[in-house]
Structure formats: structure tokens, C-alpha cells
Point group: C2
Chain length 136, copies 2
């Protein structure tokens, strides 16, 4: 039971894009260098973020990936759901079992984590990082 490396890459890339200028596209080549991951693999991950509507892409020369719309609102949970999917972490006895007490408690615990992730926005971390770079 681990978060995938892909989620890690996605979170760091989003953080990077918010710390950099949000208006012009950045190529996957450039984005991949900071994280020691191959461009083709990172591209697969970023395509998931595109399909989730979190970023947009542009083909051709001077193309790349760019933040989109209300990117200040993007939470950890948005990114995790885009990469890992939205299925529950716990598969209990049978597909739909609303009576199982164990299932209910596990869902409740997962919801607690999700609420924390939903209330944490990438932009806030990017600002904190920028701030700590300006001051010592």
C-alpha cells in the first residue's frame, strides 16, 4: 500500500509550474530534468492531468504544458485523483456492502485523509517555497 511514484512526479511538476511563470508553456523535456525521470514517462502522467482538466497542452514548436483556468484552487486531492483514480482504498466483502461496519469505518478514515488533501492547495506551498527563497 503505497502512493505511486507517478503521483509524486505529478505533485512536484504542478508545484514547479506554479512556482514558474504560469502563462507560457513548458516542455516535458525541461520539466523532467528536475526530477530525474524520463520525458516520455512524465508525459504519460501529465496527459492524465490534461484529461482531468488541471492543465492544458500545446503541440508543436514552443509547445508544452501550461496551467489552466483557476489553477489557484487546485488541491492535492485533485492531482491524486487524476493520477491514481477515484476508487476507494478498501475493497470489502462484495462490491456494494453498505451494511459492513468495517467497511464503513475504513471509508470514514479514508475520508479524513481526503478532506486534508482537499484543503491543501498547491499554490500555497509554491508561495511558501518562494517566500523561503527570498528570505534566508
Amino acid at each position: 500500500m503505497k502512493y505511486s511514484k507517478a503521483t509524486n512526479y505529478a505533485l512536484h511538476t504542478m508545484m514547479h509550474m506554479m512556482a514558474a511563470s504560469p502563462d507560457k508553456p513548458i516542455g516535458v523535456q525541461s520539466l523532467s530534468e528536475a526530477q530525474r525521470v524520463s520525458p516520455t514517462y512524465l508525459s504519460k502522467i501529465l496527459t492524465k492531468l490534461v484529461k482531468a482538466g488541471l492543465i492544458e497542452s500545446a503541440s508543436g514548436a514552443n509547445g508544452g504544458y501550461r496551467l489552466k483556468g483557476r489553477y489557484e484552487d487546485i488541491s492535492f486531492l485533485d492531482i491524486i485523483h487524476a493520477v491514481e483514480g477515484t476508487a476507494s482504498l478498501f475493497d470489502c466483502c462484495g462490491s456494494v456492502n453498505s451494511e459492513c461496519l468495517i467497511h464503513q469505518e475504513m471509508l470514514s478514515a479514508e475520508a479524513a485523509m481526503e478532506e486534508k488533501l482537499r484543503n491543501t492547495r498547491i499554490i500555497d506551498l509554491a508561495k511558501r517555497l518562494e517566500h523561503s527563497h527570498r528570505h534566508g
Copy 2:
């Protein structure tokens, strides 16, 4: 990213043992029948619970698994840690990275789920189940 089936088996087995009489051992054969899992595999899982000190085992005739000590205090987290291990869900850049803001936030979110799991005791669910069986 999923909780293992083994965790599911362990939780249900503990629930079953608390609902039944806690003083006499139950064989893995009997325990496995309720969950459609092979006795040999369930045995491997229960051995983890023994090593974690949550239950005790007795070999030989009339042997089996039995609750132990202050079993009323056993939480979901105790069982999950015994089966899945205690490692963090999120591996970030490098082994020890206390400066990474993303890492910090992920640990914090995981802690929120763990706190919920730590505060949920199996015995309470077993009692609720028993109660709902007595009344309609």
C-alpha cells in the same frame, strides 16, 4: 494504491473473535470458513497478528487462535500496522527529506487517517453488531 485483502481478512477475523467468546481458542479452519479464504493463507496472516502481540496461538488438539490481554483496546490501526507494516504511504525525493513541503503535507494527510484508525476500536463495532442482532 489499495489496502490488501490480507488486511480485510485480518479485520474481519478480529471482529469475529471478539463477537465470539474471547476465552477459548478457535481453529483457523473454523475462522476461514466465514470469509471464503483458504485456511493456510489465513494462517499466515494471523501469524502476523501473533507476532504483533494482538492475539496468541496454541498448537495441538483444541488449539487455535485466541484474543490476548487488553483486547478491548485494539484499534484498526494496530491491525493494519501488523499486516501492512508501519512504513509511510508516500515515498518522496530521497529517503530522509524533511524540507520537502509536498512530503510534509502528505505525511500530515496520512496522519489524519491514522488518527481516525487509531481511535476506532474493533470491540466497539463487535458490540454494535451484537446489539443490532439482538434488536431487529
